[in-house]
Amino acid sequence: MITVLFVAFAAILVVSSLLVILHRNPLTSALFLVLAFCSLAAIYLLLHAEFIGLVQVVVYAGAIMVLFLFVIMYLNLGHDVESGVTLALRRGLGWLLGAVLVAEGALLITGRLAPGPATPQALTAAAAAAPGNTQQVGLLLYSRYLFPFEITSIILLVAMIGAIVIARGLREPAPAEAPAGSAPVTAAAPEEAPGEDA
């Protein structure tokens, strides 16, 4: 049953992600990407990674792809116009390289990993009895991976600021709003002063 479901979702995943890169309309591409992410989330669920699966939907489908959609709508992009000899050449090369890469990957996986255990190890009793892996992922996040976790939050903050600054676009800098009352004496940075004559 699980295998059947997996194959079904995998098929949806592959086909929709192929359509992402094949479809000329970016909006359609984006929607197929949503579909791909949702089926990926389903595969995660099949792998007993409930938390990751649902976060996948919330983050990718619910937030990131909406952003894509937003931008595509905002820029009002139609079908891509694609032509030209160099483009055709690159396109051919691209598909060729992609095919070679898949072949290599398949060879590597089947050739090198075959001796290893093909099926997952049995769940330990503790893991099976646990109410869900959300709690365990949370515990890991706040213990062993606390530092990376904090770094991630800083990355998000930086990205937020960066996105706002970039998307605001080029603007005339606002005229310096110095109230007439503030004395220029205090305005001179005292810390710099010793360096002036150094």
Partner: protein, 341 residues
């Protein structure tokens, strides 16, 4: 053949299907009558009778509406993106229906109790944006597009506060499973002569208010019905829709209201918990609270004026979000303090 039916996974799937069908039909029936109630309540609030001609007290009005909508001519704009134009109404209904899979209506009366039930709800509500955005885009109409973009921005903005306000509940219940959350609300609070029930609305009042406000915004109900603000956007994202597709959007709206109300009941109002009734009938409590809440939704719609768009955004980001964050902080501190005492 028999072996196939005895396979436990198949059996689970079968009973699941049965439950799904039952709940689906019940909910669709409720939704049909919600439109009726809304018109009745609106009538009362505005001192007029409301629909009262079709059947006794107008009770058959929903069927008349459905019949009318089926018979209407379907109109599709010439330069619309046809496929998306068809898909959008479906997307409006599906996520709301899907969420019902995890709502515990009564003890043992639930399609599936997954341990990340709340996340399922959040995921599904985050998918609700697509219907509106795509409907607006594919109609190829500037009003529809504006409505779609507005709705996307609005829903994304309020989803944050919505999600954050549930964290207080999760902290108190210690689980993401909705059944566990309901169980955590059984019994009474240990103080006062009043013997308040241990519902999270009493221990998390701030979160409840935030959740409720965000629920209005998520369902695009007044006073947050900007995406379809008639006075500025004609009909908003569904300007170009007609006939059954238009009905689907309304179905979606009422379905969303139903879903989010039942989640509110589950998270804050104790779910099926209530006195006097035997366990097998406790789902009646659930429905009682649900309808009270839906009445509140309708009451609010016909009472409050619509917000301006910048007010809406400012309110979501500058008021609700910080308060929700503070609430998480305070709840966390309280849980830590109690836990360490």
């Amino acid at each position: 053949m028999i072996a196939f039916f005895q396979d436990p996974t198949v059996q689970i799937a079968f009973w699941g299907l049965v439950k799904i069908v039952v709940i689906l039909f019940v909910m669709l029936g409720i939704v049909a009558y919600l439109t009726f109630f809304e018109r009745k309540i609106a009538g009362h609030i505005q001192s007029r009778p409301g629909p009262n001609l079709v059947g006794p007290w107008g009770l058959f009005q929903p069927f008349a509406d459905i019949l009318k909508l089926f018979l209407k001519e379907e109109f599709i704009p010439a330069r619309a993106n046809k496929i998306l134009f068809h898909i959008a109404p479906i997307l409006a209904v599906t996520p709301a229906l899907t969420s019902f899979a995890v709502v515990p209506i009564g003890p043992n009366f639930i399609v599936t109790d997954v341990n990340v039930g709340l996340l399922v709800f959040l995921a599904m509500s985050s998918l609700g944006v697509y219907a509106l955005a795509l409907a607006g885009w594919s109609s190829n109409n500037k009003y529809a597009l504006l409505g779609g973009l507005r709705s996307a921005a609005q829903m994304i903005s309020y989803e944050l506060a919505l999600g954050l306000s549930t964290i207080g509940v999760i902290l108190l219940a210690g689980s993401l499973s909705l059944v566990d959350i309901v169980h955590a609300q059984s019994g009474t609070l240990p103080f006062g002569p009043l013997a308040l029930p241990r519902w999270f609305v009493f221990t998390q009042p701030v979160a409840f208010v935030i959740f409720l406000i965000c629920a209005f915004a998520e369902t695009n109900r007044a006073p947050f019905d900007l995406p379809e603000g008639e006075s500025e956007l004609v009909g908003g994202f569904h300007t170009e829709y007609s006939s059954m597709k238009w009905a689907m959007f309304f179905l979606g709206e009422y379905m969303n209201m139903l879903t989010i109300s039942s989640i509110t009941v589950t998270l804050f109002l104790g779910g099926w918990n209530g006195p006097w009734l035997p366990e097998s009938l406790q789902f009646l409590w659930f429905f009682g609270k649900l309808f009270a809440l839906i009445f509140l939704f309708m009451w609010v719609r016909w009472t409050f004026p619509r917000l301006r768009y910048d007010q809406l955004m400012a309110f979501g980001w500058k008021v609700l979000l910080p308060i929700a964050l503070l609430n998480v902080l305070a709840t966390g501190a309280a849980v830590y303090w109690v836990g360490n005492r």
